[in-house]
Symmetry: C2
Subunit: 208 residues, 2 copies
């Protein structure tokens, strides 16, 4: 948590620091990003930084919170209202919302991507837990769809949930090209749809 001093800062200065951090964490991993770089770009003295944040972790968590909140804005609706939709279509929707978020806020998605690519203690703190929560929710939804006959009952729900987590958390970002966001958007949407088509067919009730 940033200090009160940081929160009291005038907006311009605060944003200078936040922007510098976002730009750097988007370019490099957590370890590769040095406080020295951040203060150089944000044009604040070293001493000030430590008056605003306890340490690098403190800053990173603060920035990641901003990213997370923004991503939630895109998914909130879907996540609070998924009763009347099949699991696969829920995943489709979330995926597409994620893609929209990614192209609207490429730097934010780069930050997330850097975190996912680097499974250190920060990853453990910020992601690991959430993934297992997601997995559990997915398993429940999959089981419901099994009852409804949308998914074969001989599928292993946990395995299926993990396939989804695995595929959704990684593949999309590879296509993100900062210089051509519109093309990236279309590519990602297309790819997601193709992946989920295969999966959907793979788990659907066999027609005998």
């Amino acid at each position: 948590m940033p200090t009160q001093t940081f929160l009291n800062l005038d907006k311009e200065k605060r944003n200078r620091i936040i922007d510098a951090a976002i730009n750097l964490f988007a370019e490099r991993t957590y370890e590769q990003t040095m406080i020295s770089d951040i203060i150089k770009i944000a044009k604040i003295p070293r001493g000030s930084f430590y008056q605003y944040f306890e340490d690098k972790d403190d800053l990173y968590f603060y920035i990641f919170d901003i990213v997370k909140l923004k991503k939630m804005e895109y998914m909130k609706n879907t996540l609070t209202n998924y009763e009347n939709i099949s699991f696969i279509n829920l995943v489709r929707k979330l995926y597409n919302e994620g893609v929209k978020f990614a192209t609207d806020h490429p730097k934010y998605i780069k930050i997330i991507d850097n975190l996912l690519r680097n499974k250190n203690y920060i990853y453990d703190k910020l992601i690991k837990n959430n993934i297992s929560i997601a997995e559990n929710i997915y398993v429940d939804l999959i089981k419901k769809d099994m009852e409804k006959g949308l998914i074969r009952k001989d599928i292993d729900a946990i395995t299926f949930a993990r396939i989804i987590v695995q595929l959704t958390s990684n593949i999309a970002v590879e296509e993100l090209d900062l210089d051509n966001l519109e093309l990236s958007y279309n590519k990602m949407i297309d790819k997601n749809s193709k992946i989920l088509d295969i999966i959907e067919y793979g788990v659907s009730e066999r027609i005998n």
Copy 2:
């Protein structure tokens, strides 16, 4: 490449260094592993290390080569002789051979895992290229199976290949428990089989 001096070393000393490196690279990532740790465990002076290897990269590449060669031993047969087998069954076979390798040489698979989890420049050098080679081979095989009617023709071959790469390179290791290798083995084989069942059905020709 290690120096001639290193290769001239008596076996005991050479193995002490190799073992120390393997143990450390299995426990920690490349960046987290310090030369100081290696020489402490191998019980050689700092100066000697630099008489054997140019730097940390040099040692790492050497160790990784050992790992790669060992893994190849397990897959060689399948990889040189995959004409009369469907793509999905090839993947099944390779996957199961990978699992055998993993349980026979848990430290080696940990080294690979640490590399896959940390996408830095070492990853780029050692893995990235191979993945795209694998992808290309997969695409060819997928297309052949499409001709044979084993895989639906409306599947996007590249997408399918990537799904396979993605799933096979990541999921298995999560189950590896060094304290119970037999159980791990069974779990991994089981999981792989379940994943590939879903995928196989997902891409197979629809029966109308």
